[in-house]
C-alpha cells in the first residue's frame, strides 16, 4: 500500500508494534496490497475537502428489506472529511508500468468524519435511536481511486470502502457504489496536483433492503504533489547510530482449511451506554464464512544483516549448516472472508452477509513460543453490530513443535476470550485449522536506528 497510509497506520500502531516499527524501510515494503509489483515511485497529493456527503435511507420492501430484517431501520449518515491524501504509486509488474492509487479522507481536527443517526421502529412504538460516529478508524476512511488507461477515477463510495461504516444499521459503501459521486480526470492532472475535483450531485438508490438518496456537495481540492523515489537510501540525522537488519520472508500457500471463527455479540448491560447506541437487549452472532477463504501467510526471520544468509535459512528450517541463534522467527497468518450476521433485538432479527472481515494471528517461534491475534477489518454488515479495529485479543494461534522442519505444516487458530467494542460485549468462538505449504523466499535489508 502507499506511504500516506503507512505513516498514519504506523502512528496508530505505534502502541502495538513497539520499537521495531520505527524502522526505515525500503520500497518493497510498500508493495503490500498492490499485487507484489515493484514500486518505482510514489506521488502524494495532500488534499482539503469542502462540503459533505449525506445518505438518507429507510428499509424498503421493494428493495428486499423483509428478507434481511431491515425494514425497521431508517436514518441518516453524514460523511464530512476536511482533508486527506491521494497517493499514486508507479508500479512495475514484469515489463508493464502501472499506477495504483489510494484515496484517504480524514478530519485532522477533532470530530467525526462519519456520523450516523439511525432510528429503529419497534413493535408498539418501542424503538430506539442508534447514534455513532467515526473519527479515524484504524481500517481507514477510504474511497476508491482507480488509475486505468491514463485516467484516474475517484469514487467516494466503493466496494470495500469504509466511509459509511458505523455500528448502526445502514447500507454498506459497496451497496451505493453505482450511485456514488464520482469523477474521472487525466492521471497526469492528478499527479500534478493543484486542482479541484467536484464530486457533487444527488442520486437515488434502492438496493440490499434500503432505499434513499445520496446528496453530495463534496469537492476535493488537491494540493501540491510531492514525489518520492522508493530507491532512495535511508537517511537519519547526523550522529544517530544505525543498524542493518535482514528480513527473510517465506510465502506460505493454503492447501486446505477447516472450521470457522465467529463472534457472539451482545449489547452492554450499562443502561446509559446501551440506550445511546440502541444496543439494549441486542444479541447476535457474526461469522467469518469459512467457505473458500482468502489467505495470507508468511514465515518471517529477522536478524543482523551481518549474519550469513544460511543462518536465516537454518532458523526457518530450510537449511542445517547455519547457526539459528539470535535470529528471530515468526509466522504470521491472515484469514479473510465475508462476514455473516444474525442480530436480534426486540423480536426482530436482522440477517445479512456483508463486508469483509479479517482474523490475524502471529506466532513467535523463539523460545518460548508465543502467539497474538485478533479480529480486524470491520466485520460490518447492514445490521447493527460491533466493529473490530485492531484488537489483539480474541484469537490464539498454535503451531506444532518442529512444524517448520516440514514442507507442509498446520496452524490452528482458536477464538478465545471476550472483549468489548464500545456498546458491545464480544465473545470469540470457533476454530480454524489451516494446512500450509511453504513457497517463495525473499530477502530485504533495512536500516534502523540501533538500540
Amino acid at each position: 500500500m502507499r506511504r500516506g497510509w503507512l505513516v498514519v497506520l504506523l502512528l496508530a500502531l505505534a502502541g502495538l508494534a513497539g520499537p521495531a516499527q520505527a524502522q526505515n524501510v525500503g520500497g518493497q515494503f510498500f508493495a503490500f496490497g498492490i499485487g507484489g509489483g515493484k514500486v518505482l515511485s510514489e506521488t502524494n497529493v495532500p488534499l482539503q475537502t469542502t462540503g459533505e456527503l449525506v445518505v438518507s435511507f429507510r428499509g424498503d420492501a421493494a428493495a428486499g428489506c423483509a428478507a434481511a430484517g431491515l425494514c425497521a431501520y431508517s436514518g441518516t449518515i453524514i460523511v464530512r472529511p476536511t482533508g486527506g491524501n491521494l497517493s499514486i504509486a508507479t508500479v512495475q509488474r514484469g515489463k508493464r508500468i502501472e499506477h495504483a492509487a489510494t484515496l484517504l479522507l480524514v478530519t485532522p481536527e477533532s470530530g467525526p468524519v462519519t456520523s450516523a443517526r439511525v432510528q429503529r421502529s419497534g413493535p408498539g412504538g418501542q424503538g430506539g435511536t442508534c447514534a455513532d460516529g467515526q473519527g479515524f478508524p484504524l481500517f481507514g476512511n477510504t474511497g476508491s481511486a482507480v488509475a486505468r488507461g491514463g485516467a484516474l477515477t475517484i469514487r467516494v463510495l466503493a466496494p470495500g470502502g469504509t466511509l459509511l461504516q458505523t455500528r448502526c444499521a445502514g447500507p454498506l459503501d459497496g451497496d451505493l457504489a453505482s450511485a456514488s459521486p464520482a469523477v474521472t480526470v487525466p492521471l497526469a492532472t492528478a499527479l500534478r496536483g493543484r486542482t479541484s475535483l467536484d464530486l457533487s450531485g444527488t442520486r437515488a438508490f434502492a438496493v440490499h433492503g434500503f432505499a434513499g438518496t445520496i446528496t453530495s456537495t463534496l469537492v476535493l481540492n488537491l494540493g501540491m504533489a510531492s514525489q518520492q523515489s522508493t530507491s532512495s537510501s535511508s537517511i537519519f540525522p547526523p550522529g544517530v547510530k544505525t543498524q542493518r537488519l535482514r528480513i527473510v520472508t517465506e510465502r506460505l500457500s493454503l492447501v486446505r482449511v477447516q472450521g470457522g471463527l465467529s463472534a457472539a455479540a451482545s449489547g452492554t448491560a450499562d443502561p446509559i451506554v446501551c440506550r445511546l447506541l440502541d444496543t439494549c437487549g441486542l444479541t447476535g452472532t457474526l461469522t467469518l464464512a469459512p467457505a473458500a477463504p482468502d489467505f495470507n501467510a508468511d514465515v518471517i526471520a529477522q536478524g543482523p544483516a551481518s549474519r550469513p544468509y544460511r543462518d536465516f535459512l537454518t532458523a526457518v528450517g530450510l537449511a542445517r549448516s547455519g547457526r539459528p541463534q539470535g535470529i528471530s522467527v515468526g509466522v504470521s497468518v491472515d484469514l479473510f472472508g465475508h462476514v455473516g450476521a444474525e442480530m436480534s433485538q426486540a423480536g426482530v432479527t436482522c440477517t445479512d452477509t456483508g463486508g469483509p472481515g479479517v482474523v490475524f494471528a502471529a506466532i513467535g517461534i523463539s523460545s518460548p513460543v508465543q502467539s497474538a491475534g485478533g479480529f480486524t477489518g470491520g466485520w460490518r454488515t447492514r445490521c447493527p453490530g460491533p466493529q473490530f479495529g485492531a484488537s489483539q485479543v480474541g484469537v490464539v494461534a498454535s503451531l506444532r513443535p518442529g512444524a517448520l522442519e516440514h514442507q507442509q505444516f498446520t496452524i490452528d487458530m482458536r477464538g478465545s476470550g471476550s472483549f468489548t467494542d464500545d456498546g458491545y460485549v464480544v465473545l470469540a468462538r470457533g476454530d480454524v485449522s489451516a494446512l500450509l505449504r511453504r513457497g517463495r523466499i525473499t530477502s530485504q535489508v533495512i536500516t534502523q536506528p540501533s538500540s
Binding site: 477533532s110 467525526p112 445511546l276 508465543q370 468489548t420
Partner: protein
Amino acid sequence: MFRWLARTLAVAALAPLALPAHAVADQTFTASGSVTYTWQGDPASGCAAVGVCGVQGALILQSQGSGSSTGGGPPRGTIDVPIESTGSTVRVADGSGAGECVDVASLFPGGDLLITRRTGGGLVGHIGPSVSSGRCAGPLEQDLAALMLPVRRSGGQQPTFDLRANRSFVVGPFAVTLASTLVVRTARGAGGSKTVSSVPGPVQRLPTHKVLLEQVTLHYRTASLPGTLNAAFSGEPDPFCATLDACGATGTLALSLTRFHRTLVVNASRPSAGRVDAREALADFRRGRLQATGIGFALGGSTAQLSETFAGSGGLRCQDTVDSHKAPLFLSAEPARPGGGVSLVLNNPVGSDLLRTYCPGPLDSDVFGASPGVARASIGVTQLLARHSVVALADPGSFAGVGYVGSRSGALAFSLTLELVHAGTVEVVRP
C-alpha cells in the same frame, strides 16, 4: 486495504513476540479491557442550576495492546500503556428528546493508562490526557484526568496489574460512573530483560563560535486589567449540526483572567562587528534597527474564568461558569515586522479545552482554529520604551468549526510598566 492492514497487524503483533533481546524495552506489558465513563445530571450536585439534569452521556476507551514501562515499572517507575481515545465516540442525550450529541475524540494525542505509585505507597492508575466529553455536555478533560483507578498487583518478576473496578464520582453537576475492565499483564517472554533500548545514540557536537550582539533588554511588570474575550456561536446549518445535536442552538462564551502580576522580558538585538555603548544601542533600537523578541511566561498561577450560556432547540438551557486554575495559557512576545517592535500573543496550547464548560458548545479549535494564538496585540518601539502603557489583546473575527459557527469579540487588557533596561553589547556562543 484490509489485506494490507491485516498484514501490518500481523507483523506488528510479531514485533513484541520475536524481537531480538537487545531491542526489548525494560519491561513490556499488554493491556486488555476497556474503561467506560457514564454520567448524568445530579440534582444533589446542582445540575438544576446549570440546566443539565436531563443529560446522560457515555464514553468508552479501549485498551490498545502493548506498552512499556519506564524505569522498570512500579515500584521503580511508571507503566504507560496506550488507550484508544483517538476515535472513541462520545454520546450524550440532553433529555429534551431532540436528539443525541455525538462527538469523536481528537486524533492526537492519544490517551494513556498510567500506573504510578501514590505518595502513600499504593499503586494507582489514571487515564490521560485529552479525554473529555468533547463538544457535548459532560465532564471536562481535567475532571476525567483526576479520576483514579485502584491497582492490585500480583505475580513476581512478571507482574499483573488488575484495574477492574466500578466507581462513582461527583464531577461538577454530574454523577459519573467509571467502570473499568482493564488488566495489564507482562508480555510473555519480554519480562526480566534489563536492557533499555530508549537511550539514543551519541550525537555529534556541532562547532560553535562567539559573536557580538548589539542588544537592548527591557523588563516589564505586567498586570492583567479587566476585560473579556467573547464568542457568540450557533449551530451550523442542517445537516452539519445534526451530529452534535446543535441545530438551532445558540450560545455565548466569555473568557476572563483574574488579576495577576508577572515580569515580561523583551529582547532586541542584531549582530555587531564591534562593541557599542548603551546610548548607541538604544538609539538603534528606536530607529528600528534591532530585531525584537521576547521571553514570555505562563499564566499557570492565575485563574482563567469561562462563562457559557447555551440554548438548544430542544429546550436545553444551560449556563455555567468554570474556574480553571490549570489554564495552560501563556503570554509571549514574538517578533513583529523588522524594526516594528513586538507582538504580544496570548497562547493556548493546541488540544487544550480552555473553552469548555459543562454545557455543550464549540471546542478551542473551532473558535480559535489550528493556531495556538488566542489574542494578540502589536507594540511599537515607542510604546515599548514608555514608562507605562496598556495593551489590549484581541482577535476579532468570524469562525466556522465543527458543528458550530460564530464570531469572536472583546479583548484582554494588560498594563506594562517598564522597570529595567539593559543596553549595550553582549558576547554569545552560537553554533
